[in-house]
Amino acid sequence: MTFLVTRDLSVTLGSRRVLHDIALALPPRHMVALVGPNGAGKTTLLRALAGLLPADGAVEVGGDVLSSLSLRERARRFAYLPQGHMVHWPLPARDIVALGRYPHGATDPARLPARDAEAVRRAMQAVDVVELGDRRVTELSGGERGRIALARVLAVEAPVILADEPTAALDPRYQIDVIKGLRAAADTGVLVVVVTHDLGLAARFSDSVLVLKEGRLVSQGSPAEALSERVLTEVFRISAYRAEYQREAVIVPWSESR
């Protein structure tokens, strides 16, 4: 069973082709790590999936063609977590989480219908940020802001979550908190696509890994298969320490490859 399908997905920015003929078929209840060197096109692929930039080729989500959906219908299918968790005004954290209900027509956080208030509450409990609700987001630590951003994305209750480097700039504890929050969403039935540079987290928490290089999908499969020694050498130009711990794949980038 597949939920998100792409065929010949290509993106051209200016005169440069950034993504070449990406073909994906991803199931629900699944966490996919999207990895690749800087400039490989990971963020571009995520944006193309969310319909945030013009792309050639087809994206189908839950049996519907993406381009046939209205902006609001797309927003209900894809919850998008961008890099950096930027918030421009010092709003209460709860209002930020409540923006996750915007695609459902609940545009005013002060007057959320019961169903939407309930979704906000669930999301804040899932990442344990209920007590931060009244704090201004700009006054929160990076880790707290990261979790508020995650709660906003969970509050959409979308079948697909697209997260762009959600663990960047977080301390190890918050990295694990955030990635486990996404893992938990995947376990409840959501398709989670996570862009990351952390091969260790990718290997350990994801069900499958997609490897991008220069805009092309060069490897995919289970973490151990997709991140084989050959791929690490050819794509990342590194060699890694590989092991298994508590039945999960361990990959630690070790040295530059010759």
Partner: protein, 347 residues
């Protein structure tokens, strides 16, 4: 803290916003009464209310209802649309230094109006004037946002705004320069110094429909401003059509500012100052700031227009001059406060 407590705190904040807005509305009402009472013949607020509702002497009725009421209505409406435009632009650009006057919108609107007069296309009381002003204001804000691009920083917006204001000012000067008719030059000088003196109900009829339309357009977009707090891309991912929103805001600002400038000339800085005065009371939510900023804009312009009538001077002080003299130092203060964001200050 439990979920229940959080809801209660949110309710307290909501109640505070409502009482602040009510207090502001009362202030605007009071200032309106004072504005109606001030002039060569001073009338008490009680006399003003009597005259307004058809009581009191015939003289008082004529003064209040025919001479002063249009001026007060214009101050109220124009102050409101300037405050609302400032708050909407700040919401759209997520930038506390955005405002119509810093972007050259009133200056461009004035040029549009001046051009119509200088070319002899219409007299000062025809609808051609606000239409030309609106078109010029739309062009200037559209050009500014196109030049600055998406996610423009403070510095780029302010520099582009400066360039557009300068261009509009130069074009206006050129129109004056080339005009051989001294009466036309005099009339043009009027556009450069915003004023509410001697305005009639004809002026109100000229400006109000455009101002109201602009206000409706801007207010209808309020919830999108909140989503934009997360940046354009995330707002788009939440279902906000950012391109369409930009056009709506540009159109709303142009309608409001163009309509206002067509009857009063340029009155600057209300749009910059009003949202800043409201943030400590209302909070930073760009959607909730719109109405309070409009009320604050009304209060500011009414107060300024009362002040120019009270300040003793040999000739009339123009209200546009006063708002700029107060507004520019405020702008400088904001630059000082925001200099870290402006890039590489010592702050």
């Amino acid at each position: 803290m439990s979920v229940h407590d959080v809801t209660i705190t949110a309710e307290i904040a909501a109640r505070r916003r409502i009482s602040s807005a009510a207090a502001l509305a009362a202030l605007v009402g009071l200032l309106s009464l004072i504005s109606l009472g001030i002039g060569p013949v001073r009338l008490s607020p009680v006399t003003v209310i009597e005259a307004l509702f058809g009581g009191g002497s015939d003289v008082a009725q004529t003064i209040v209802r025919e001479i002063r009421l249009p001026r007060t209505i214009l101050a109220l409406a124009i102050g409101a649309i300037l405050g609302l435009s400032g708050a909407a632009l700040q919401g759209l650009l997520r930038n506390p230094l955005a405002s119509p006057s810093l972007f050259g919108a009133p200056q461009s609107a004035a040029f549009g109006a001046v051009l119509v007069i200088a070319l002899g296309l219409a007299d000062v009381r025809s609808y051609a004037l606000p239409v030309a002003a609106i078109i010029a204001a739309f062009g200037s804000v559209f050009a500014l946002l196109a030049i600055a691009g998406r996610n423009a920083g403070l510095l780029i917006l302010i520099l582009a705004g400066l360039a557009i204001s300068s261009l509009a000012g130069a074009a206006t000067a050129l129109a004056m320069n080339l005009s051989s008719n001294p009466f036309v030059v005099l009339e043009i000088a009027f556009w450069l110094l915003g004023s509410l003196e001697d305005r009639s109900f004809q002026h109100v009829a000229l400006a109000l429909p455009f101002i109201a339309a602009g206000a409706i357009v801007l207010f209808s977009q309020r919830h999108a401003f909140r989503a934009l707090s997360l940046g354009e891309e995330t707002a788009q991912s939440l279902g906000v059509d950012v391109g369409r929103l930009r056009l709506f805001v540009i159109a709303g600002v142009a309608l409001g500012v163009g309509g206002a400038v067509a009857v009063t000339g340029t009155i600057g800085f209300i749009g910059l100052v009003a949202p800043h005065l409201m943030r400590p009371l209302i909070g930073h939510d760009p959607a909730r700031l719109l109405v309070p900023s409009a009320l604050a804009g009304s209060a500011l312009l009414l107060a300024a227009d009362i002040a120019v009538r009270i300040i003793p001077s040999t000739s009339d002080i123009k209200v546009g001059v006063l708002t700029s003299i107060i507004g520019v130092p405020f702008f400088l203060y904001l630059i000082m406060r925001e200099r870290r964001a402006l890039g590489g200050g010592v702050a």
